[in-house]
């Protein structure tokens, strides 16, 4: 069984690797134009262009480029970006921590909060409390991410002046230790809130729907008949059984969050991979696009794998039914 799973993961990984290489190259436009700009300010000779194309390996046939790409990936080398004038690893090391700093807490907070509220809402199905929450979250679900971000900025940064307008740290403020940490947290509040706000509805709605299904199960009735305390029924019986789809969705949501974070980082000028890939796509910087997508794919695959393990812990039935 385990072998089969690992083979599955390997197949997924190989497909991702190939898509990762070919998709960016299907984009119209070429990376040289992006590097050299397209206006008359520059005077570049054809020779210099060919020189760079050769350095970037663009003069080789696509399949050969693919071979080089696979070879270097397995060597752990993601290449050198001539647009950003830096190795792709270095670019990723500089930006990924900031994105994780946004995504990981956002994922935890939105999942836990969404789960608790969803559970309470489902428990009170049909009552005013449930109806109001449902309307509220449906509304939130339809709200575009960037609108949430801009609104937060307008209210808390522009009008009230409580939070900074942009960035992840105060530039050149010479902070260290606890003050630096506080500065980072201060800058994190708004983008994190925006991301949680954008994400929480999905987790709430899913939990609520699952709770409604589980509520009809005989074991809930049994638990009630046994006179078990409400809190215990809610969280131990109902909660644990409603947790499964929520956990499954985490990996899917993680993938989606990497796209959501693109907009959030743009609005808050937050220095993460979202902004990096945005600029890389504009510049047709294949190596950076590849590098970012590769790392994101690996993060998602690993999370998926971890969640599968977690899943077995929560629901032992999975082990029996698997393969």
């Amino acid at each position: 069984m385990e072998k089969q799973r690992i083979v599955d993961y390997l197949i997924a990984f190989l497909i991702i690797l190939s898509l990762n290489f070919f998709l960016p190259r299907l984009l119209p436009g070429d990376p040289l134009t992006a590097i050299y700009g397209d206006d008359a300010l520059l005077s570049i000779t054809q020779e210099a262009k060919e020189d760079l194309a050769a350095k970037m390996g663009l003069d080789k046939p696509l399949l050969e480029q693919f071979g080089i790409y696979l070879n270097s990936i397995f060597k752990g080398d993601l290449g050198y970006s001539y647009y950003f004038q830096s190795s792709v690893q270095k670019l990723l090391l500089g930006t990924l921590p900031w994105t994780l700093l946004l995504i990981v807490p956002a994922l935890f907070i939105s999942t836990i909060l969404g789960f608790i509220v969803g559970l309470e809402s489902g428990w009170r199905y049909g009552r005013l409390f449930d109806k109001r929450l449902l309307t509220g979250f449906m509304l939130l679900n339809g709200f575009p991410n960037f609108l949430v971000g801009i609104s937060l900025l307008l209210v808390f940064s522009v009008s009230l002046g409580i939070f900074p307008l942009a960035g992840a740290v105060t530039p050149y403020a010479q902070l260290s230790g606890i003050r630096l940490l506080l500065d980072i947290l201060h800058h994190l509040v708004l983008p994190l809130t925006a991301l949680v706000t954008a994400e929480i509805a999905a987790s709430y709605l899913l939990t609520r729907t699952t709770v409604l299904t589980v509520l009809g199960e005989p074991f809930i009735l049994t638990a009630r008949a046994k006179g078990i305390r409400t809190v215990n029924i809610k969280y131990k019986h109902l909660g644990r059984n409603s947790l499964l789809p929520v956990v499954t969705r985490i990996a899917v949501r993680l993938g989606r969050m990497f796209t959501a974070v693109l907009l959030i980082e743009n609005i808050f000028a937050y220095p993460g991979v979202g902004l990096l890939i945005y600029r890389a796509i504009l510049a047709r910087d294949f190596l950076v696009i590849q590098g970012v997508l590769f790392v994101v794919a690996v993060v998602i695959l690993v999370t998926n794998f971890l969640l599968e393990l977690l899943y077995k812990k929560i629901d032992p039935r999975v082990i029996e039914h698997a393969y």
Binding site: Y36, D38, S43, P171, R279
Partner: protein
């Protein structure tokens, strides 16, 4: 495979911690020591424009400008757009030798204390042969020699007027004692790559955060900068106006709608020059677009003023049929202006054999249809042009695609009409040649008119400014008659600033024509 809950939780915690330590490490790099001195802050929505050494900054205006604070050129433009001495204090053209002689300053020191001499200039020109510099084409330089330790004579293969603006005024001079050891300047980002002669030294550059911190070079030969520190910070485009208002930044670009509000609050609003144009391109390899008369008909039939008023809400200048923007020193008004005249347009179309049948034009009883290819940014313009063409009886459709696709199809001549845009109309008028003759998608690629071709070549070889101006007037006249492409409008951009430093847009742009209000001379006492 059995993994306990504890292992999973532990892995998650480690991942989180790793991400936190990563962030912490980033910040340790930015150790700067200064107290409350004069810091000037510039807000920018992109932030990162590359390591500000000559070979590593990104090939865009803002990248060059960040480098230009550290490195000097032989000559530079002042507030009026005229050349003033930088590393060279005098220069002249020796016609008999087809050569420029530059007399260098003797009081210049590199940031590391070494003296600047003619050897550095010769080295730089030599270095470029091995490592081409994207901003300066030195292919017309035959050789250079030092007449003495501070005089350089640059011999040309033939007279070449753009040399002053595009080489002497753009090429940063490199320190020989450092760059002679740098073999791959494109990848070299050690701190000694940043030893220049300019008014500022780099203290810190952070790629991820998109921030730059400069300190004044107190020994600068043109005088000490009036501010001690200069920093660029990254702020989202929508938030820049607020950053200027609340003092987070001293200057930043603002949208046209806010201009009046900023003026009312006592801030200065700088108005850009117009070196960027939105352009209607014709497929010159296909009838009827290859026909001059047809292009003229469209020029009369498209209301460019309406484009300015509606699509640009008045914040633009109407396109000149002679291509050069009206506020450019090389502009000539002695050209056919093509004021909106649909009657005249219809007449010209009639002369070409187009007959109006039930509201639409036909030729040889075939309906005449046209497709405008454009990208999102110009789709408003395209719709307005479509309206005008429909009024002439030309059945027009607009096709909007991704910008890069439009460029690719333009390159392949796979279009009828294209509306797109480009900059670079500010610097040396050599840009005229690039935009008419070069084989790039922004160029009209129009080589049919021999007179125009010869005048364009002549203007590059004419060093005398007045003679060159006459040639350019003639060029614009012919261009306006032939209309290989039609400039629709030149948009205006705005920059707001407080009163700390008197910034300005340099007429004709910085160096080879960069339209950014950050001339290093504005920071000097």
């Amino acid at each position: 495979m059995k993994i306990s809950k504890r292992t999973i939780i532990l892995t998650m915690i480690i991942l989180l911690l790793l991400s936190l330590t990563g962030c912490g490490r980033e910040n340790k790099e930015k150790k700067t020591v200064f107290q409350e001195d004069e810091v000037y802050t510039i807000a920018d929505s992109t932030g990162d424009w590359g390591f500000p050494a000559p070979y590593t900054h990104y090939n865009r205006g803002p990248g060059y400008v960040r480098m230009s604070l550290i490195f000097d050129t032989l000559i530079w433009k002042d507030k009026t757009g005229s050349f003033v001495g930088a590393l060279a204090q005098k220069w002249e053209y020796v016609e008999d030798d087809t050569a420029f002689v530059f007399q260098l300053r003797k009081d210049v020191k590199w940031h590391d204390g070494e003296s600047f001499t003619a050897a550095d200039v010769l080295f730089t020109l030599d270095y470029l042969k091995e490592h081409p510099y994207s901003w300066s084409d030195i292919s017309l330089i035959d050789r250079a020699e030092a007449l003495d330790s501070h005089t350089v004579k640059v011999y040309l293969k033939k007279a070449y007027a753009p040399l002053l603006a595009n080489v002497a005024g753009t090429l940063p001079i490199l320190p020989r004692h450092i760059y002679k050891n740098i073999n791959s300047p494109l990848e070299y980002t050690e701190s000694d790559a940043l030893v220049g002669t300019g008014p500022f030294k780099l203290v810190d550059y952070n790629k991820e955060h998109g921030t730059y911190l400069y300190a004044a070079n107190e020994d600068y030969y043109l005088g000490q900068p009036r501010i001690n520190k200069l920093q660029f910070i990254k702020i989202g485009e929508q938030m820049i106006p607020n950053a200027v208002l609340d003092g987070t930044a001293n200057t930043g670009s603002i949208p046209p709608e806010l201009v009046e509000q900023f003026k009312a609050k006592g801030l200065t609003v700088l108005v850009s020059d117009h070196s960027w144009n939105a352009k209607l391109k014709f497929n010159l390899q296909e009838e009827p677009f290859a026909n001059k008369k047809f292009r003229q008909a469209l020029a009369y039939g498209i209301d460019r003023k309406k484009l300015v008023n509606i699509s640009q809400r008045g914040h633009a200048v109407i396109g000149s049929p002679g291509f050069i923007p009206p506020d450019n020193p090389w502009y000539s008004s002695e050209i056919e202006q093509y004021d909106y005249n649909p009657e005249k347009a219809r007449k010209l179309l009639e002369e070409l054999g187009y007959v109006l049948e039930r509201e639409f034009l036909e030729k040889g009883s075939k309906p005449f249809t046209v497709e405008i290819l454009t990208s999102g940014r110009f789709s408003g313009d395209a719709e307005l042009v479509k309206n005008d063409l429909d009024k002439l009886g030309i059945k027009t459709t607009v096709r909007s695609m991704d910008g890069k696709t439009v460029d690719a199809r333009t390159t392949e001549w796979s279009f009828q009409l294209v509306i797109s845009g480009h900059g670079g109309l500010g610097g040396d008028p050599a840009f005229f040649n690039t935009n008419v003759l070069a084989d790039t998608f922004h160029s009209a690629r129009y080589k049919d008119n021999q007179e125009l071709l010869s005048l364009l070549n002549q203007q590059l070889e004419t060093i005398d400014e007045n003679k060159r101006r006459e040639l350019l007037a003639e060029i614009q006249k012919i261009y306006a008659i032939d209309i290989p492409a039609l400039s629709l409008y030149y948009p205006t951009t705005y920059e707001a600033m407080d009163s700390k430093v008197d910034l300005y847009y340099t007429p004709g742009g910085l160096a080879s024509g960069i339209p950014i209000a950050l001339n290093k001379l504005s920071f000097l006492q």
